[in-house]
């Protein structure tokens, strides 16, 4: 617009304004009227339409058909017309271009003309754009199928509509060499893994549909009347060829009025049909037709052409000796037994290694039964030879099969992945991805990565990213370009290996462990885990796996450290499991203590305690005043700061504080006593500090619960949040547990019926904790504890 046009417009506008209407109230009236209408319509929608809310989000449900809000549908639909690498054009370029054009409107439409009749091209393009968006939106609403009412001429088409078309539109461009089966089953770049949703046959049917849509059309025209494509997906190619070439000569087609297929379907179409029925998908073809004889992979070090010729021509490409001329019958039988079931006949292994391994490798060929195996071994090459695959497979199928076989001969991804995992990952993640304590930081427990739920909720791209770049903490990046040791292919192999766990998770924890971290005191842990094998009282038993833990031999044979190690890491020679993955170090320590307490021991002062004092203390602590170690009575009663020993209370005794170094001064100054010695003294004080003290020997699971071990964890977990030191009953210490309480002491030792703590837990009076009672077991523990004197 020229300057004069601008001023002209402004003048004209001023004129319009003068002749116009006042904003208030005239225009406001209109606005309010329209506004009210809009509001009423909205309320109507809210009332009659409600605010929709579907099921809670379920990340493992890859079957859900995603549907964006309606005003994004046109974009969603646009995406379908730009498959593969062109996606970018549909998603970003076109919308961005549209927005850029809108922004540039004042500069594209530069005349002074404003009436729509003088701006045909602007009106035209806007009309086209709006119509296109409308069309795409409607198209998308029609296109997105509802899984419930999907129908299709052929099975594969229905599968495609249901599972693929939402993201991929009407067709997918398949790059040559794509392992379709693996892609569909295992997911790919944000695409979910369909292994859990689709059967193998369905995946195969889909693969065929994808690589040969033309074959799909031929199938629909000629075969779909009787056959469902899914039914034929796994039929042997020999059968297919026979059925097709023999026409009515084929037994199942005998009574039907069908033409000879060679007269109806020609050349390329024939190949397309075969490719449709049996997708040129190397992995799948190998699995169907080769693995039965060749195992997961063949050992091949020749070149590709040789391999292709071999697959094409099949036949007796390797001579097998007639072993009946070489080996006695007994050895042939032994070999046959080994071949049929290796584990049942370990004696066959050296024979196999000697005679067969040169050609068969470490893989043992399979045979149906012993008779067949004997026959094959004895007759040598006269057993079934390899088919001429060149006659029955299409070129595309042969190429795919050759490519896969060659790749697999260099190690199938899972085998490579397994080797890599063993080398790089198992140190921290365990051999089976079961996790466990971090090797350099045992308090950091690494969670299992091989559980079904872990794998279900992470697609391949995620696992690949975790391995490549490392998660936010704890694990280094493994990809070369990130500074790690692995190539991209090797990471793919690792992902394949990890993914392979999903079908059959190697680690299934016992249900009680699956439930989460183990809680409770040592006694509870013991009765949950140890008692299964060692008995409730730890004494073992004739019908129990584990040995007695209470026998003198056991108690004397192992130090505390050795007991800890056995529990923590298990015993390779016995069926003792490593519990370190399940229990914390503290819980294992508690178990050791508990096992020690299972046995009663007598501490005699003059025999066990006095020699310690004499050896380590009497040189200084004679009769010089201060603490005097010369007799038991003086040991207890003397001391600069009052009696050195308070019988029954080691924690409160100055002697123990000095020995442990938790008091004023560590004693003896020259060097501490050993832990064993200190423990002995502590136990003697605990037991009452008399000439003869009996400790331990409580019956597990029975009466002798203590506050520290059994009761305190329950109270801390369930009561501590409210019952702090804010008045009323206080569960913080032993004394307060017993003596505090609004209505007098909460516990009267020996009398649970008369203890308000027990009664409130049972719900006599207002139930505690409010609204959610403790478990019956927990209440019973507390009642037993009170009835038996409420031991500290």
């Amino acid at each position: 617009m020229k300057p004069e046009e601008r001023s002209e417009y402004l003048e004209e506008y001023a004129e319009d304004k003068k002749k116009g209407i006042p904003f208030f109230p005239d225009a406001v009236f209109k606005d309010v009227l329209v506004g009210l209408t809009v509001l009423i319509v909205l309320i109507g929608f809210a009332y009659f339409g409600g605010a929709p809310l579907e099921e809670r989000a379920d990340p493992s449900d890859a079957d859900y058909t995603p549907r964006p809000e309606w005003y994004f549908l046109w974009l969603f639909q646009l995406l379908k017309y730009f498959p593969g690498n062109l996606e970018f054009v549909g998603v970003i370029l076109l919308p961005a271009l549209g927005f850029a054009i809108l922004f540039a409107m004042p500069y594209l439409d530069r005349t002074r003309l404003r009436h729509f009749r003088s701006r045909t091209w602007v009106m035209g393009s806007m009309g086209v754009a709006v119509a296109a968006m409308g069309f795409l939106t409607v198209q998308s609403m029609i296109d997105i199928p509802l899984p419930a009412n999907v129908t299709g001429e052929i099975n594969a088409a229905a599968l495609f509509t249901e599972h693929c078309s939402v993201c991929h539109g009407t067709a997918i461009e398949i790059h040559e060499g794509t392992n379709l089966h693996e892609t569909i089953a295992g997911g790919h770049e944000g695409m979910p893994a369909f292994a859990a949703t689709l059967s193998i046959d369905e995946i195969d049917a889909l693969s065929g549909f994808l690589v040969s849509p033309q074959g799909g059309a031929i199938f629909t025209a000629n075969c779909a009347e009787c056959h469902d494509s899914g039914d034929l997906a796994a039929v042997s190619p020999f059968e297919l060829q026979a059925a097709l070439s023999q026409g009515t000569g084929y037994a199942a087609h005998a009574d039907l009025d069908i033409p000879e297929w060679e007269e109806v379907v020609f050349g390329q179409d024939r190949t397309a049909l075969l490719n449709f029925l049996l997708a040129p998908d190397g992995q799948r073809l190998y699995g169907l037709y080769c693995s039965e004889c060749h195992g997961p992979a063949i050992d091949w070090d020749g070149d590709r052409d040789q391999l292709e010729v071999l697959i094409r021509e099949g036949g007796n490409h390797r001579e097998m000796t007639q072993w009946r001329d070489v080996l006695p019958d007994s050895e042939i039988t032994l070999l046959a037994l080994y071949v049929v079931e290796p584990s049942s006949s370990p004696d066959g292994e050296p024979l196999f290694a000697q005679h067969c391994a040169d050609c068969h490798g470490v893989r043992v060929p399979t045979a149906v039964d012993i008779e067949t195996a004997v026959e094959i071994i004895a007759d040598g090459m006269s057993h079934r030879s390899m088919p001429l695959w060149g006659d029955v497979l299409t070129e595309e199928q042969l190429t795919a099969l050759t490519t896969y076989t060659l790749d697999a001969s260099r190690g199938t991804p899972t085998l490579i992945g397994q080797a890599l995992f063993g080398r790089l990952c198992s140190t921290c993640h365990g051999d089976f991805g079961e996790g466990g304590p971090h090797p350099s930081d045992p308090t950091n427990i690494i969670a299992p990565i091989s559980t079904a739920i872990y794998l279900e909720t992470r697609d391949d791209a995620t696992i690949r990213a975790i391995i490549s770049k490392g998660p936010s903490e704890g694990m280094a990046p493994f990809l070369e370009s990130e500074g790690g040791p692995l190539t991209s292919d090797e990471i793919d192999a690792l992902v394949a290996f990890i993914r392979a766990w999903e079908d059959d998770p190697p680690v299934e924890f016992p249900p009680e462990i699956e439930q989460g971290p183990v809680a409770g005191g040592s006694r509870q842990v013991f009765s949950t885990f140890c008692a299964q094998c060692h008995g409730e009282d730890g004494a073992g038993g004739a019908d129990l796996v584990g040995p007695s833990l209470t026998s003198d031999t056991f108690q004397n044979a192992y130090s505390d450290e050795e007991l800890f190690a056995s529990i923590d890491r298990g015993h390779s020679a016995t069926s003792m499991i490593a519990w370190g993955d399940v229990l914390t170090a503290g819980q294992v320590e508690g178990l050791v203590e508990h096992i020690r307490s299972l046995v009663s021991r007598t501490i005699v002062y003059s025999r066990d305690i006095e020699p310690i004092f004499q050896a380590s203390c009497s040189a200084c602590h004679g009769s010089l005043g201060g603490w005097d170690s010369s007799s038991m009575q003086l040991v207890i009663e003397s001391g600069d700061s009052g009696p050195a020993v308070i019988p029954g209370d080691p924690e409160g005794s100055n002697l123990v504080r000095s020995l442990r170094g938790t008091g004023m001064q560590t004693m003896p100054p020259a060097g501490e006593l050993s832990d064993v010695q200190i423990d002995l003294i502590v136990e003697w004080i605990t037991g009452g500090a008399t000439e003869e003290v009996t400790i331990g020997g409580e019956q597990a699971g029975g009466s002798a619960y203590t506050w520290t071990v059994d009761v305190q964890p329950i109270l801390a977990a369930s009561c501590g949040a409210c019952h702090g030191s804010s008045g009323g009953w206080d569960a913080a210490t032993y004394d307060s547990t017993i003596n505090s309480g609004n209505g007098g002491p909460a516990v009267s030792p020996g009398n649970a019926d008369g203890s308000s703590l027990a009664q409130r837990l049972l719900g006599n009076g207002a139930l505690m904790p409010p609204g959610s009672a403790l478990s019956d077991d927990q209440i019973q523990i507390i009642i037993d504890w009170i009835n038996n004197g409420a031991a500290r």
Binding site: Y13, L42, A51, W70, F76, E87, D109
Partner: protein
């Protein structure tokens, strides 16, 4: 009485000139199509008010989001209405903003001197769409989860920075609690701030420059064709 109150406030606030400039100005004679802008504004106010009410009960975590939304819908007094208005208001906002824009294009109202009004209007449309996209995830139901999974994945196709964009939007490789809090933060803080800024400029210009007059069909005849050629 009213005059007295009016005077009392006028002496203390001096608001009459503002009222005059805002309300007592003349505007050109307009059609009903000119109410689309104010209707959009009204729905926006509706979105803000109901949105604020929703944040009182909504909890942006995967554990609680769904339950809190369900609680709002089924338990809170008139919760169904608040959520319903917010839900349908979002669609109404997109429709009305779209129609408003079509009206502007038809009238050539983006031309001098209203270019800036047009730019801010486009910004507002983009912010509205962003509101729709981020808000869609918040109920954390199946539709929300999967639509956002697919929607954020589209970012990945951008060349070079695509993967980075995807991680930025999701706050990780996959949709997670982080995604939810990010979308929530966008939806209730970042986007409203942008909205306020843009709507402020937009409204200021509507008053300052004035709304366009409906063009007259006679304009072509007056000037002759040479100007068209020049364009």
């Amino acid at each position: 009485m009213i005059e007295k109150i009016d005077l009392w406030f006028e002496e203390r606030m001096g608001w009459r000139p503002i009222w005059k400039a805002l309300a007592l100005r003349n505007i050109p004679k307009v059609t009903w199509a000119y109410t689309l802008g104010s209707a959009t504004l009204l729905v926006m106010v509706n979105q803000i008010l109901t949105g604020i009410l929703l944040t009182i009960y909504y909890v942006p975590s995967p554990q609680d989001a769904y339950n809190s939304v369900s609680f709002i819908t089924n338990e809170i007094t008139a919760g169904w209405l608040i959520r319903g208005l917010h839900h349908w208001g979002a669609s109404a906002m997109v429709i009305l903003a779209g129609l408003h824009m079509i009206r502007v294009v038809v009238h050539g109202a983006y031309k001098f001197p209203r270019e800036v009004t047009w730019f801010t209007g486009l910004g507002l449309l983009a912010v509205t769409m962003a509101f729709g996209f981020t808000g869609y995830l918040l109920p954390w139901d199946q539709k929300a989860y999967w639509a956002t999974t697919v929607g954020t994945r589209m970012l990945e196709v951008v060349p070079v920075i695509g993967p980075w964009l995807l991680r930025f939007a999701r706050g990780g490789e996959e949709l997670s609690a982080v995604t939810l809090t990010r979308f929530y933060g966008m939806h209730i803080w970042v986007l409203p701030a942008l909205l306020m800024l843009l709507i402020g400029i937009h409204m200021f210009l509507v008053v300052r420059i004035g709304i366009s007059a409906p063009p007259k069909a006679s304009e072509t005849e007056e000037e002759g064709p040479e100007l068209e050629v020049e364009a």
